[in-house]
């Protein structure tokens, strides 16, 4: 039965993983996401569903364990936070190259370096521009509530298996740590080995039985073959853009100004939109739910309607570049964000909108990016 609970984002994600019938989780502790493995361990998932949960010796080991389980068609996932994700990138690139389904969760903290354990969205570039080596992309889901932390686990695996590709859930310390009401879905049974072999026997390595052997690799020593692989990946990404783009529009119908924000920034921006509307300023919010695919066309359409766009992010200005690209310089697009783990307030966002966009932005001429930090 579905169940209403008060939970932390990280715990909701972990509980949802068990209920979604995930086969294996491999992780290494790092703040602010250690609750994921702690919660899983507390639940005795090996008894509840037979799920394997293992604390690896490093993020490197964890992501390669995911690679191993995914090679056999099992639903495998890992979670970490920024420095740990940097370590996983080689493995993520291998998952993409070898065309394996897997889910990776990044509960982002501030960087670079050891940075801070406070929330941040500074891993946007790393998440949507590849991150690891080679021509690949990740399908990136950005939850902005505890409910979405739970819901996106199953959504992520659906996409991962639809495309045989790694999927990233890009969360942050705020969404991971905050407590909210969450409706948890019913327990799903894990797939049996027999069913798995029937379903994925055309690619998964499960032991060569009644078929030709299967091989999982990302290596093509022949350039033509490697290019064919890259083209195969590109096709998947194009299909994702066509079929699996997700976004949310809030108060956009009559908007004269637009805020673009995802994850925790979207939550805070929603409040800023309310404050603005109370003052009589018609502001809308476009929330990309997937960061790749990115709502490019929706932004371009809105650019014909609004006078200016503010990209609100907990970083020094990353997504703003994609917004600028999407609107093709038809309206001014500026960035506002705090870094270092400081979280902007709705009032700060409204002030930034008024100062950067409303005061300066009535002219529709092209604006270059200016220093957009406080």
């Amino acid at each position: 039965m579905s169940e209403l609970k008060l939970m932390k984002g990280n715990e909701a994600l972990a509980e949802a993983a068990i209920r979604a019938g995930v086969d294996a989780y491999f992780g290494y502790p790092i703040t602010p996401q250690s609750e994921v493995i702690e919660y899983l361990m507390s639940q005795r998932p090996e008894k509840r569903t037979g799920m394997v949960v293992l604390q690896a010796e490093s993020e490197l080991a964890a992501i390669n364990m995911v690679y191993g389980a995914a090679s056999t068609g099992k639903k495998a996932m890992t979670s970490s936070s920024s420095p740990g994700i940097s370590l996983k990138l080689e493995g993520i690139s291998y998952l993409a190259g070898a065309e394996l389904p897997a889910v990776i969760v990044n509960v982002v903290r501030g960087g670079p370096g050891l940075g801070t354990i406070q929330p941040s969205q500074a891993d946007y570039f790393q998440s949507v521009k590849g991150g690891g080596h080679g021509d690949y992309k990740l399908y990136v889901l950005a939850p902005s509530s505890v409910q979405e932390m739970a819901d996106f686990v199953e959504d992520a695996f659906d996409i991962a298996f639809k495309y045989r590709a790694p999927v990233l859930i890009l969360s942050d310390g705020l969404i991971g740590q905050m407590m909210e009401k969450v409706t948890l879905k019913d327990q799903k049974e894990r797939m049996s080995n027999e069913e798995l072999i029937k379903k994925y026997g055309n690619w998964a390595v499960t032991g060569k039985k009644d078929r030709e052997r299967n091989i999982i690799t990302s290596l093509d020593l022949q350039s033509e073959k490697m290019e064919a692989r890259v083209h195969r990946l590109l096709k998947k990404y194009q299909q994702m853009e066509k079929e699996d783009l997700r976004f949310e529009k809030i108060h956009c119908e009559d908007a004269e100004y637009l805020i673009v924000a995802y994850g925790s920034s979207a939550r805070i921006s929603q409040k800023a939109v309310e404050l603005a509307r109370a003052k009589g300023i018609k502001v809308g919010l476009l929330r990309p739910i997937t960061l790749f695919p990115f709502p490019k066309q929706q932004l371009l359409d809105l650019a014909a309607q609004v006078k200016g766009i503010l990209s609100v992010e907990l970083n020094a200005g990353q997504m703003v570049e994609d917004v600028q690209l999407a609107v093709q310089h038809k309206v001014p697009v500026l960035h506002f964000g705090r870094t270092g783990g400081i979280i902007h307030t709705p009032e700060e966002i409204l002030e930034a909108l008024e100062q950067k966009i409303i005061k300066n932005g009535h002219t529709r001429h092209h604006k270059t990016r200016e220093s957009s930090l406080l």
């Binding site: 294996a24 394997v52 080991a61 690679y67 191993g68 389980a69 056999t72 390595v205 039985k209």
Partner: protein, 257 residues
Amino acid sequence: MDILDIIKPENQVFCKSRLMTDATLSYCPGCGHGTAHNLTMEVIDEMGIVEDTIGVAPVGCSVLAYDFMNIDMTQAAHGRAPAVATAIARTWPEKYVFTYQGDGDLAAIGTAETIHTCNRGENIVIIFVNNGIYGMTGGQMAPTTLAGMRSSTSPYGREIETMGSPLKITELVANLPGVYYATRQAVHTHKHVRKTKKAIRKAFENIRLKKGVSFIEIVSNCNSGWKMNPVESNAWMEENMFAYFPLGDIKVNGKLK
């Protein structure tokens, strides 16, 4: 006696395993990798476990092991094969899971995965081909390169003061309770081939018995990397490699020798 009287199945000690593909081996003539592959396939065939075997290929000369071993295989990132195998063994406990790795892969970049996989006592076989060099990338120094031995990154010989001593990783992991069987073998003569095959068989039997890690080191040549012809390289190996990496069992049935 005619030669054809000798080449009869019952006299044939060495032949290509049925589980080897027809692909031309990419290994240099004289290299031990091909023999090590063949022995592994023979054991899997003889035990009748091919339908339940999953292999993990490394990064190194044997990265293409899956081109030659006609079984289900996945190819791991450099050094991470034990982590990959861990997950397979955990999610498919009834399968026979093995890694096949070189010394750079297993004892340098993948040291942490090697030690922790052994320490957890994962129910897998690790086949470790120690040729004292990075064969694939053109003969650079490996963690197992002998003192004074020349390589492209130790052109004046491995200097212990600055480069450290060659790593006896098999002795190291044998001390971990998770390792049930650790042995060091070779494949350059028929006598050694027979012994190695026995060791590999024992290792796969251990998986059946769920005993934890069986760790088989095969000291092998890399005639290309060592810049010798195959005959010279085998003689050099016996004289120098075996002196530092003595052949024989290190741990049997959970007990150190």
